[in-house]
């Protein structure tokens, strides 16, 4: 490790910045939970990806791990720019920038979100007592982001917002992988790659769903369940 980097790490600044960025991700996950318009949700997601990218880049600097810059760049390019732009276009083309239906009300969703964050903090901080504090806090935040992404997926009925929920969840995973010091590059790239594949898959699906029903509401699909025929 070179001189200046060591200084930064030992000064506690590394810890504070990483803490702030990871906390910002959790906060943005909450912001996503109560968005009721698709385009707004997409914008928040793009911001989520920017914060993730910054956080990963900071980890790259603090850990002196240059390969993490690649992960940060991938996160920025794909998740903050390419995917939101494409989804914006899809949403406009389908004419569904209206309100999002919710299964559960906002208040209840937010309460559930808080419970999930509390749960992940309790679980992760307890079991990682011996790990270094930087990784430890990061992991707790990452699990919160993962669980909030999951919550977003289950509370939405619209296919596009489910996809956004899934990508938010994957952001949490990237945060966790970046926080695990020295984790081989294979995993980070594969995560980014799988998101790309996922996007292609979803793109195809959305196109087909649009083609068939003129809707991307997953509820509309539910009617055709085989056993209820």
């Amino acid at each position: 490790m070179s001189g200046p980097v060591t200084d930064v790490v030992t000064s506690g600044l590394a810890f504070d910045v990483a803490h702030m960025l990871a906390g910002g991700l959790v906060l943005l996950s909450f912001v996503m939970l109560y968005q009721d318009r698709l385009s707004a949700l997409l914008n928040v997601f793009a911001l989520h990806a920017v914060v993730l990218s910054t956080s990963v880049a900071w980890q790259a600097f603090a850990q002196d791990a240059p390969h993490l810059y690649v992960t940060a760049a991938i996160a920025l390019a794909f998740k903050a720019i390419v995917i939101p732009t494409a989804l914006h276009r899809i949403v406009r083309r389908l004419g569904i920038h209206r309100e999002i239906e919710r299964v559960v009300g906002t208040g209840l969703t937010m309460l559930a979100g808080m419970a999930l964050v509390a749960l992940s903090l309790v679980v992760m901080l307890r079991v990682t007592a011996e790990a270094d504090p930087l990784a430890r806090e990061d992991l707790a935040f990452a699990l919160s982001v993962v669980l909030l992404g999951l919550l977003l997926m289950v509370t939405r009925r619209n296919a596009v917002s489910q996809v956004i929920g899934f990508m938010a969840l994957e952001n949490g995973l990237v945060l966790a992988a970046a926080g695990a010091k020295g984790m081989p590059l294979v995993v980070e790239i594969s995560v980014a790659f799988s998101i790309l594949i996922a996007f292609i898959v979803i793109g195809i699906f959305l196109f087909r769903i649009r083609e068939r029903f003129d809707t991307v509401d997953v509820n509309a699909l539910d009617r055709f369940r085989g056993d209820r025929r």
């Binding site: 079991v127 899934f166 995973l173 068939r212």
Partner: protein, 487 residues
Amino acid sequence: MNASGLPLGLDAVSAVLLVPLAAAALLALLPGYRVAARLNVAASLLTLLAALSLFTGERPAPGAYLAIDDLNIVFVALNCFVGFTTSVFSASYIGHEVATGRLTPAYLRFYHAMYQVMMFGMNLALVANNIGLMWVAVELATLSTVLMVGIYRTHEALEAAWKYFILGSVGIALALFGTILIYMAARPVIGEGMDAMVWTTLLRHAAGFDPALVNVAFVFLLLGYGTKVGLAPLHAWLPDAHAEGPTPISAVLSGLLLNVALYAVLRFKLLLAANPGAIATGPLMVAMGLLSVLFAAAMLYRRRDIKRLFAYSSIEHMGIIVLAFGMGGPLANFAGLLHMVMHSLTKSAIFFAVGHIAQIKGTQRMSEIGGLTVTHPWLGWSLVVGVVAITGLPPTGIFMSEFLLVSSTFARAPLLAVLLVAGLLLAFGALMLRLGGLAFGEPKGSAAPAEASYLPMIAHLALVLIAGVWLPAPVVAWFQNIAALLG
């Protein structure tokens, strides 16, 4: 090491991976579906030969990415065998799909390429010596099957593929989190970098890992890969994916992909067993397995769609297998392994039969299918044999494995054995009830002859029957060896 007759002088491990990959690239370019179907069969056969030559050849030392050991060699051989027979079935099946216009040649090109991509993904997951690589491979196999489930593009198929994709992704995300936690646990002991993800290294140092971290990791891994296995609270994708995709895909999903996910769970179970401070993984697996058995058995009664019926039966059997491995010990592990092999063979044979039936009758609704033994003796009686085998009646291989499991469970936890037997009987009743209507009585629907090859179906059923009467001594010795390994 060239027992397989592979001309390139490749070692068998790379052949098992490279043949499907090359075939996938070739099939993506080939326009004619008849040629493509034949090439698909040829590639699968070549992969099977390579897999079989793994038994004879000298094993390479485990590397940072790939390794072959006693455990995964069985999975690879089973995978390639069912992959090959399904490709033969598929070749006879798709001609009919094109004739009825359900699939166009362009989609078939995609279908064949994806079939080989899926085989590649599954084989890679099985021979991976690296927990990161294994995760990537399982993800690849899942994505390729998602695309194939949705290939008919009907309402039902799209919903099934969407559900499978979303639930599968959540599962795989949880598994990745578990994988990261394992790395975190390994890092202080092994050091940073690739070594801390290599399977054989992890196992050697497992005793020194932080038990709390490993415990949490296992919960994530069990939930994550367990979604893929189709264990009860996480099974929702499975019946839809089986019912709405092409039947060859139902056969490989039930026969193979569930096993691959199970293999991943077993690997991590071994890791925890090597750590003295970690929780016992058995009770968790037993609980999930038992829940799956009871739940699926109860759900069997209300099915109206024939493919859904057997999809729920797959959930039940995966539950039995997970329960067996959860119980642990040489006898239960042996039963679990045997059950896994027998279930793969029987269930894919049943799906072959169901595929032909659905094509003849033009429907999957059981109320519109009847009297098969009268109109189609071969098909009808094969279905009877298959269902008798899957319910665990003697003299089939499944009877043997279920008997071993129940008797070993009864000796250790009588109450558990009672619940297990209740689940088995419940499933038995449901399947027998349905079989009566399907195979006997007044013939219903079209009686047109099937233009299909019964060979794969009959070969599978014959193997299951033979295994019930006589298991070759080397196979028994091999399974006992693995059972001891699994602890």
